[in-house]
Amino acid sequence: MDLHVLFGDFTVRSVALGAALVGTVAGALGSFAVLRRQSLLGDTLSHAALPGIALGFLVSGSRSLTPILAGALISGALAALLVLLLTRTTRIKDDAALGVSLSLFFAVGTVLLTYAQRQVGAAQAGLDAFLFGQAAAVLPADLTLIGGVGLAALLALALLWKEFKAVTFDADFARSLGLPVLALEALLTLLIAVAVVIGLQLVGVILMVALVVAPAAAARQWTRRLEGMVALAAAFGALAGVTGALVSASARGLATGPVIVLAASALVLASLLVAPERGLAWHAARSWARRRALGSHRVLVDLLRLGQDHRDPAYASEQGMLDTYFGGPTGHVLRRLRRRGLVERVEHMPEEGAHWVLTPAGRAQAREPQAPFGGRRDEDENR
């Protein structure tokens, strides 16, 4: 893949730009979906867009993107409405309502799709592209539409930022402030639907949910503030979009959607691992550092204290309790102490773990005040 050649190609540049915009909008609005625990609504919205896509094509008689996207938006909105109706008026639960809406709209969509395919065979390739996304199928005119609508959505988000923030974090409080919570939530859902719909041509109906969820989930690992999360999610979305578009354009026969999704998933994985504070790699490093720093003397003193708490000098402390106390494994220190003859390992109750008891030498050592800045005891500590 020669980046220079790629970037030199006007079409590729345009598609990459379009993908970047799609990713930006999906990331930004997806943040709200994820925070409101509505990730799977994105899944429903994208699958439910299928009948609208087919109808848009059938009604307009052309593969022009405008009627198709309009149709997708309308059927997505109807699907969201169905979910609301089902959960509010019957005993059907959230997840079932989402699943019902998703699968039924999609089913009707496949019926319409096959109907459309019978009608005008030539357009079949065009509509199929909406299943998995096909960068190659995106025309410059399409990009203009996607870009325009996407920017409009971002503008709406910027204008109503405070209101959306309030409604997301505490709807009741927002209501008490006089905000029209219902209208705002409906609008937010609509904007999420827009974010989903403009991405369908590139990512496809099946996988669009990932572009709504992954950038936001990744961004969440790096920051606690909404502003930061939305901005970062937008950036991650753009990055995933561009990467996917470029890779897919450079290799023949690679559907764009899957590549974008894998790029986004990689971002999530990386964020989960290395983000500061929340990152799992950070946690592992910190635990390891804590493990190393755990001084033998401290463990000794606490064994002594546990014995005093239980009024039993020969009290056998379960290792699990020590681990809980220190917030990490203590086995290595205990074994070190045993080697020095300061503790002994005993079996206690049959179903419990190892127990440790102070030897007389250990008791004596525990009572000794620790010399400041370590002193002669510390030669063993930093092994």
Binding site: R91, K93, R290, L306, D309, E318, Q319, G320, M321, D323, T324, Y325, F326, G327, G328, H348, M349, P350, E351, E352, G353
Partner: protein, 280 residues
């Protein structure tokens, strides 16, 4: 510790020792020792987040503790399942489930049936008897969503009664029930005690502890105090468990308070310095 032939502390209905459990590197239970004698109505009481439900779930094996052991009438819980009946919080269940009150009670016998055996006539009869004991036999074929909160709690109790256990573990049995049901449940518990059974209940209401129960454990991550209610239910212990902002009505220092109301505005639910578990 004496474990002779697999038996440990047989004189106690429930013996918990050194029980320690944590969640997200925070201790939820620390070094919990609980020794409940047989034939009492025991309450476990403490602020929210103090580990009360977790304690019950550790006992029945739903949560793996970091340390400690649980013995029921002298043997480990898993050997005594048949002798223990567990009543979870009423709100932990989806009452829209398509089933009847009788069916819910019958579920209490599933343990006795074991894997894959179907409940038969005998089980249905016993379930109906249990429903009658709580005055719900007329509702046997009623769908559970149609029942009120108090009726649902009775059904849950019937499900425990049908197991004819020796130890009853209940999670907030009085929460959200009407006054009539509350009185009825108290009578039921007293009857269980009269028959020599033991009840250990997580109780949510400090006001009624002294009247409903005769044994008390104050829990705030660690056990503050346990024993007969009269000895444990003191201003000092309550302050230790709930924090310095406990408001005790009609009590003088040292005497048992007549009623207690907890004003926790601003105070952390985890209680005072002593009660807070040391975590590195």
């Amino acid at each position: 510790m004496t474990v002779v032939g697999g038996v440990h502390e047989p004189a106690l209905a429930l013996h918990v020792e050194d029980l320690t459990a944590s969640y997200a590197h925070q201790a939820v239970l620390w070094d919990v020792d609980l020794n409940v004698p047989p034939g009492v109505l025991a309450a476990i009481v403490g602020p929210n987040g103090a580990g009360k439900s977790t304690l019950l779930r550790c006992i029945i094996g739903a949560v793996r503790p970091n340390a400690g052991h649980v013995y029921v009438h002298g043997r480990p819980y898993r050997e005594q399942r048949r002798r223990v009946a567990y009543v979870p919080q009423r709100t932990s269940v989806d009452w829209d489930f398509p089933t009847t009150a009788l069916d819910v009670v019958t579920m209490g016998l599933y343990g006795r049936l074991g894997w894959f055996r179907r409940p038969r006539r005998t089980e249905a009869d016993e379930a109906l008897e249990a429903l009658a004991m709580v005055g719900m036999d007329a509702f046997a074929s009623r769908q559970i969503a149609e029942l009120s909160g108090g009726q649902q709690q009775r059904v849950f109790l019937a499900r425990a009664l049908v197991q004819d256990a020796d130890l009853y573990l209940m999670d907030e049995p009085f929460a959200g029930v009407d006054a009539t049901t509350e009185r009825a449940i108290v009578d039921l518990l007293k009857d269980l005690r009269a028959r020599g059974k033991t009840v250990v209940a997580v109780h949510h209401d400090l006001q009624t502890v002294a009247t409903y129960f005769d044994w008390l454990a104050l829990l705030n991550v660690r056990v503050i105090a346990q024993g007969p209610v009269a000895e444990v239910y003191t201003a000092e212990n309550l302050r230790a468990a709930y924090g310095p902002r406990v408001v005790l009505l009609g009590a003088t220092e040292g005497a048992a308070p007549v009623a207690a109301s907890v004003a926790t505005a601003g105070a952390t639910d985890r209680g005072t310095e002593e009660a807070r578990t040391p975590v590195a």
